[in-house]
């Protein structure tokens, strides 16, 4: 079906074309991937049918609990959908570059905004529809047509969370301006994605009690009459998921109303406010004093200052780097709960954390250098510049881990010093690996940095694990009553870490 030029369907076709173009362009060098994924998807259908063909009927009494589980699953999906919705909203408003073209055409602004929000929703829902399809389609063949409700629930759920994401994006544009919105939305999106992981680790973060205590707590909360009882309105979405027509209708109506309300109240701002925000440099109060530079510093000093300024002023990049800290927090709690393995575990965890941060910062500072030609065209000695860049990556990390390391040294000098050794060595080795293996890249490609340089990624990973294992085993070997077994393995892991460093140096890229 081809839409009349200028109609909403025609515009939707344009959006679809852009979606495939954008996704196809990223994967143009992997032409085998699409057929492989389709084949895998078809195989999953077969597997789902094979596994589900003899599935017994679900008893009525169990259905409320299925609905509760489904609701929890939808809550998980909501964090992902909201995160993707924010990304999609920011991309569709700021990154696509065709907003001006469309808005300068005679197409109604409402149609443009409706189609754009619809495209964001479909783009977000598509992956979950594809994932659910093998099970739902298998359900059709084994006599469960009610499972088709899953498709409607996913679409409605995506519409709700994408509409909310678009509303938040436009609100941020109005309050903060276009440029800051891009950054804030990306940070919120990253945190929303990480939130799920932290929730999953809630049990580890809980003070004590273990799985039994958690089960007892849950049982207490879901007993009849309580807020979370199986018949509570909170599980509405889950009941729609199980095929209840009333609940499905309610969810679909909620989604449609929210979608239409978003379009109705924001399409005007989309045209006027957004265009103004994008094209206007927001005037801020300027300090009366004339800016004074700090001239006459050494090359090392100017490079350090420049690198730290660039990192500190890029909150999006900074948040992505610091998210690594967030992911390692639960591991830290796990380690600290085990008295016997606390010190070796903390050493391994801190070593991995420091090395991981060093890898990220070195990539930003070395590979994502914004003006490499400026450095090359200058008479500055590249060796000094490169050393300054490594220092710029390593110093903040060592400052960050200084407090736990000082605590470790104060607690047990020998253990603390061993920890200092592995943390410092791993940080430096990761930074050097990044320096030797880094390939020029744009800061925007931070999240995709590993894909373009898998050799460096593997070398760095093996080196990091080697140093973490060295820290773990050395401290265990130094503990009273331990055999020489740990010391021997510590030597092996140390050799592995040094070997990867040697490999990184041997296969280094030529400077410049």
């Amino acid at each position: 079906m081809r839409g009349t030029p200028g109609s909403a369907i025609w515009l939707l076709q344009h959006e679809t074309r852009m979606f495939w173009f954008n996704n196809g362009r990223r994967r143009k060098q992997r032409s085998w991937l699409a057929p492989f994924l389709v084949l895998l998807w078809l195989c999953l259908h077969g597997l789902a049918f094979f596994l589900l063909r003899n599935m017994p009927e679900t008893p009525e009494s169990v259905l409320p609990f299925v609905a509760m589980a489904a609701t929890l699953l939808l809550v998980v999906l909501a964090t992902f959908m909201f995160s993707s919705g924010l990304k999609g909203s920011v991309d569709s408003l700021f990154e696509r570059g065709d907003v001006d073209l469309l808005l300068s055409s005679p197409l109604p602004a409402r149609s443009i905004f409706t189609v754009r929000l619809g495209a964001v929703t479909l783009g977000v829902a598509l992956v979950y529809l594809a994932l659910a399809a093998p099970v739902v389609n298998a359900g059709l063949f084994i006599g469960h047509p009610e499972w088709l409700a899953v498709y409607a629930v996913i679409l409605a759920w995506a519409a709700i969370w994408c509409a909310l994401a678009m509303l938040l994006t436009l609100l941020l544009v109005r309050v903060l301006g276009a440029r800051k919105t891009r950054v804030v939305a990306q940070v919120i999106s990253a945190i929303a994605g990480a939130l799920l992981f932290l929730l999953a680790q809630a049990q580890n973060l809980a003070p004590s009690g273990g799985p039994d205590a958690l089960q007892a707590m849950i049982a207490d909360h879901i007993k009849p009459g309580s807020v979370f009882a199986p018949d509570s309105v909170l599980w509405w979405a889950g009941r729609a998921f199980t095929g209840s027509a009333v609940h499905l209708l309610g969810l679909a109506c909620t989604a449609i109303v929210l979608f239409l309300v978003t379009v109705h109240f924001t399409h005007g701002f989309f045209v006027r406010g957004l265009q103004q925000a994008v094209s206007t440099v927001r005037a801020r109060e300027r300090p009366a004093a004339v800016a004074q530079g700090r001239f006459g510093q050494s090359l090392l000093q100017v490079v350090l200052r420049k690198e730290w300024r660039l990192i500190a002023r890029d909150p999006h990049l900074l948040s992505q780097v610091l998210l690594q800290l967030l992911y390692l927090l639960p591991l830290g709690f796990l380690v600290l709960r085990s008295e016997e393995h606390a010190a070796p575990g903390v050493a391994a965890g801190l070593t991995m954390l420091a090395a991981s941060l060093a890898t990220s910062l070195t990539w930003i500072i070395v590979a994502a250098e914004d003006a490499p030609d400026l450095l090359l065209a200058s008479p500055a000695t590249m060796r000094v510049v490169r050393r300054a860049k490594v220092a710029a990556a390593v110093i903040p990390i060592l400052a960050l881990v200084a407090i736990p390391l000082a605590w470790a040294v104060a607690h047990d000098a020998a253990t603390g010093l061993l920890m200092c050794f592995t943390v410092a060595a791993a940080t430096l080795c990761s930074a050097l690996t990044g320096l030797w293996q880094g390939r020029p890249a744009s800061r925007n490609s931070f999240q995709r940095r590993a894909k373009g340089n898998w050799v460096a990624t593997v070398v760095d990973l093996v080196g990091t694990v080697g140093w973490a294992a060295t820290g773990f085993l050395l401290i265990r070997a130094a503990s009273p009553g331990q055999s020489a077994y740990d010391a021997r393995w510590a030597g092996i892991s140390l050799a592995l870490a040094l070997l990867t460093l040697l490999l990184a140096w041997g296969t280094r890229r030529r400077a410049g």
């Binding site: 001239f295 006459g296 090359l299 100017v302 200052r305 420049k306 660039l310 890029d314 914004d370 090359l376």
Partner: protein, 243 residues
Amino acid sequence: MSAAIALQLHDVSKHFGRPAVEHLDLTIHRGELYALLGPNGAGKTTTLRMVAGLLAPDTGRIDVMGIDLASQPAAAKQTMAYLPDDPMLYDKLKPMEYLEFVAGLWGVSATDAAPRATELLDWLDLSKHAHELTEGFSRGMKQKLALAGALIHAPQLLILDEPLTGLDAAAARQVKDLLLSHVEAGGTVILTTHILEVAERMAQRIGIIQHGRLIAEGTLDELRARTDGGTLEDVFLQLTSPA
């Protein structure tokens, strides 16, 4: 090499699979503004990048202010500045911080750099934007800031690739005035441009490059004498159009 020569290329060639620059000989005198013209893909940018030390020639030799670029790159680079068509800036730095960094790269002392930075920002009308990050700058403001960076160490040789691209009339005038005053003060400028009127009005000598070879060189009158005359545009089209 004569002390009056700022830049000399001897039989310089560069290939990227296919020849980009072939057996190029070029001599530019001190205090001269030299315009290097040519169609797209003629080898202008490759030539300038070799002179700036960003690309090593496959063959040949480049002398900057009498210094061999290959054997003494730091000494040669100390005397020159390169401004590409896409300004080499940092989005998250403010103008003064950018100049501070560039001055650090060239090892300019505080007593020289501080007043010069203020003077350049005033001259290029950027002082009122001193507290803004360059990411919010227009194309013209970025180009002017990059030019200020190129001039912070008072280079003897200024290498400019399309310096007027994207500038409005006022900004273009400022940049042209700045280049002329640099030449009047004894500095040397080599620039490429597709705006032939600029070359016609400003350049003392003009070189025309095509397929990596210098096909004509001289003053505008000398070039006119080799062709049917007319404007530089007429001369350029006659020299570069297929026979």
